[in-house]
């Protein structure tokens, strides 16, 4: 081996060792990551952040301005004093509590959708890329799915099924699966020509083991990046569905639902829309920035294209 090849080799090893450190150095990974961790903490600690049960309401505390104090009736029927940090809605519910609890729903939808669409996309993409007879038919179905605008597809799917957390996640995931499938298929098509795959084939390794043991591990980095973007877009689409009134049922406090209920009296009480809107935009922004950072560090080839 000549010295130059050796140095390229060692440079690659050095880069691989540094991947985690390089991630931590990247400013958009830091910012996005920190904001996201804060949001997750807020969502997990929702009951201890001065909130009340988000479904509680009190006719006497309707349409309070942010920061006003009022009363609210607990489930036990007690009247307690409560400061409405973000005001209250037209039922007299505490917007602050609803927004904080809404973070749970949004983050859950984002994460679940990303995992679900990655799982199906990986299976379909590996099959299409590695099993040639499946490629044509499978990709035609994916092309068809991609030709239907995502939000319309999601709206229709949710409307057909009964709206619930599961159906919303599945519907959004269905719109994302074709994109993941395409990505995985493209990766597989280049990876399958690598010598180590050829070696595995000639050693008689079972096809399934080649697909999941040899090819899949080399697709991980772009998939993490893609998963982050799916998470951001799923949070956004869930909010849009709920806002349009075709998403999660109104009794679940989500940012989209709060805004959907608040839009009627937007002119008089903009805080109904303002606070959930800020939280929504902030979360999507954090996840997107994190995704950009991950792309720059983990997937330099893709980073170059954009």
């Amino acid at each position: 081996m000549n010295p130059q090849a050796l140095s390229v080799e060692s440079a690659n090893i050095a880069r691989r060792e540094n991947a985690w450190q390089r991630l931590q150095r990247h400013w958009s990974v830091r910012i996005g990551g920190v904001v996201l961790v804060l949001l997750v903490l807020v969502a997990l600690c929702a009951p201890w952040l001065g909130t009340v049960d988000p479904s509680l309401f009190d006719a006497a505390s309707r349409d309070l301005r942010p920061g006003q104090s009022g009363e609210i009736t607990t489930l036990e029927g007690e009247m307690i004093k409560h400061k409405f940090l973000m005001g209250s809605d037209s039922f007299g519910r505490d917007i602050y509590s609803r927004v904080i609890y809404g973070a749970r729903v949004s983050l859950l939808v984002g994460l679940a959708t990303a995992l679900l669409s990655l799982a199906f996309g990986i299976v379909f993409g590996l099959s299409a890329g590695y099993l040639r007879w499946l490629d044509g038919p499978l990709m035609r179905v994916m092309d068809g799915l991609m030709a239907i605008p995502a939000i319309l597809l999601a709206i229709t799917l949710v409307a057909m099924w009964r709206a619930s957390l599961v159906t919303v996640v599945v519907a959004i995931a269905i719109t994302e699966v074709p994109r993941v499938t395409r990505l995985v298929r493209a990766l597989v098509l280049s990876i399958r020509e690598e010598p180590y795959v050829e070696a595995a084939v000639s050693l008689g390794t079972p096809t399934l083991k080649i697909m999941f043991g040899h090819i899949l591990p080399n697709c991980i980095a772009p998939l993490i990046v893609q998963g982050t973007y799916i998470c951001a877009s799923a949070i956004l689409v869930e909010a849009i569905l709920s806002f349009l009134g075709v998403g999660l049922p109104p009794d679940i406090p989500t940012w989209g639902n709060i805004m959907s209920e608040g839009r009627v009296q937007f002119m008089a009480y903009p805080h109904n829309l303002f606070f959930p809107g800020v939280f929504l935009a902030l979360s999507v922004l954090a996840v997107n920035i994190l995704g950009d950072g991950l792309r720059d560090t983990l997937d330099p080839k893709m980073a170059k294209r954009l």
Binding site: A147, L152, T156, I240, L244, G277, L280
Partner: protein, 313 residues
């Protein structure tokens, strides 16, 4: 080249067919009997059975698909359960606002984003470039309805420049029509601008690294001409592609924007029809939007020949 156009046209047929099958199956497999919905609450079971056989709903699924697809090809989309009229007629009534909104949005988006992307690539790494990239991430992240309400709040309520909501038909005069359309179009164009500006910047940046740019500068061409005639012209294909792909975003945005600004277009119709479980209408509108998306991307593919004379099919 004509063989290419023919081949490209033919290649859209399987996609459209798959779309039709998917939409058909999606809605036919929903719980609920369309014949019973159409007949109304007071109908007897014989009447429902009669409607069912007249619609062909008692046949097998493949036969039903055949009948449905045959009707589509003749321009028959069926009758709306909710609006009690032919779906084609319904769409004809609602298409103007959507077309107007989409056209104005694309116009604004292209006119704003392409120059921004070129300047950012020209001043790569500078403050303008960073600001544009920051704006672009922000544009992707702020949901269109949040943006809509922010704009309504500032521009319509506080400044009073534009009406809060509503739509005026083109027949009522061009200026009122435009006046009501500008704010929704600006709202909708933000995400599109973010997308196109990003791609314009990236592809102009790539072109600027080529040898012919150095040659153009070396022979003393003015910088503006180098940018427009040499860099941008060579970056046109990816830009055209992303405009085509962005149509999907635009259609999703139209649904939301029309809802917020109370514009009686197809997007609003989709949401209303979904809420009323008016499946023939939902089916027709989704088919129409998907068809538009496929056809626009077909046109984009064909436009490569114009943008890049090196491409010969």
């Amino acid at each position: 080249m004509y063989t290419f156009i023919a081949r490209r046209l033919l290649s859209t047929i399987p996609v459209l067919l798959v779309v039709a099958v998917l939409i058909f199956l999606m809605l036919r497999l929903t719980p609920g009997d369309p014949a019973a919905i159409l007949a109304g609450d007071a109908a007897s079971s014989e009447q429902i059975a009669q409607i069912r056989s007249s619609l062909g709903l008692d046949r097998s699924i493949p036969v039903q698909f055949g009948i449905w697809a045959g009707n589509l090809l003749q321009g028959e989309f069926g009758r709306s359960y909710f609006y009690k009229m032919e779906v084609t007629q319904l769409i004809a009534q609602r298409i103007e606002p959507t077309l107007a909104l989409a056209t104005l949005t694309i116009l604004i988006a292209v006119l704003v984003s392409v120059p921004l992307g070129v300047i950012a690539a020209w001043r790569f790494g500078g403050w303008f470039d960073r600001a544009l990239m920051g704006f672009s991430v922000l544009g992707f992240s702020v949901p269109v309805f949040v943006l809509a309400y922010i704009l309504i709040w500032i521009v319509s309520l506080k400044l009073g420049w534009f009406p809060v909501q509503g739509y005026k038909r083109l027949a009522d005069g061009f200026w009122p029509f435009l006046y009501h359309l500008v704010l929704p179009a600006i709202t909708l164009s933000v995400i599109y601008i973010a997308l196109i500006a990003r791609v314009t910047r990236a592809s102009v940046l790539e072109a600027l690294g080529e040898d012919y740019i150095r040659t153009a500068r070396a022979k003393g061409l003015p910088e503006a001409r180098v940018l427009m005639r040499h860099a941008l012209a060579n970056a046109a294909v990816p830009i055209a592609t992303v405009i085509g792909i962005g149509i999907a975003l635009l259609i999703g945005g139209v649904v939301v924007t029309e809802s917020v600004y109370a514009i009686p277009g197809l997007g609003r119709l989709t949401v209303d029809a979904v809420l009323a479980r008016d499946f023939p209408t939902v089916q027709a509108v989704i088919l129409l939007f998907s068809f538009a998306y496929v056809v626009i991307n077909l046109l984009v593919d064909l436009s490569y020949v114009v943008f890049d004379p090196r491409i010969r099919y």
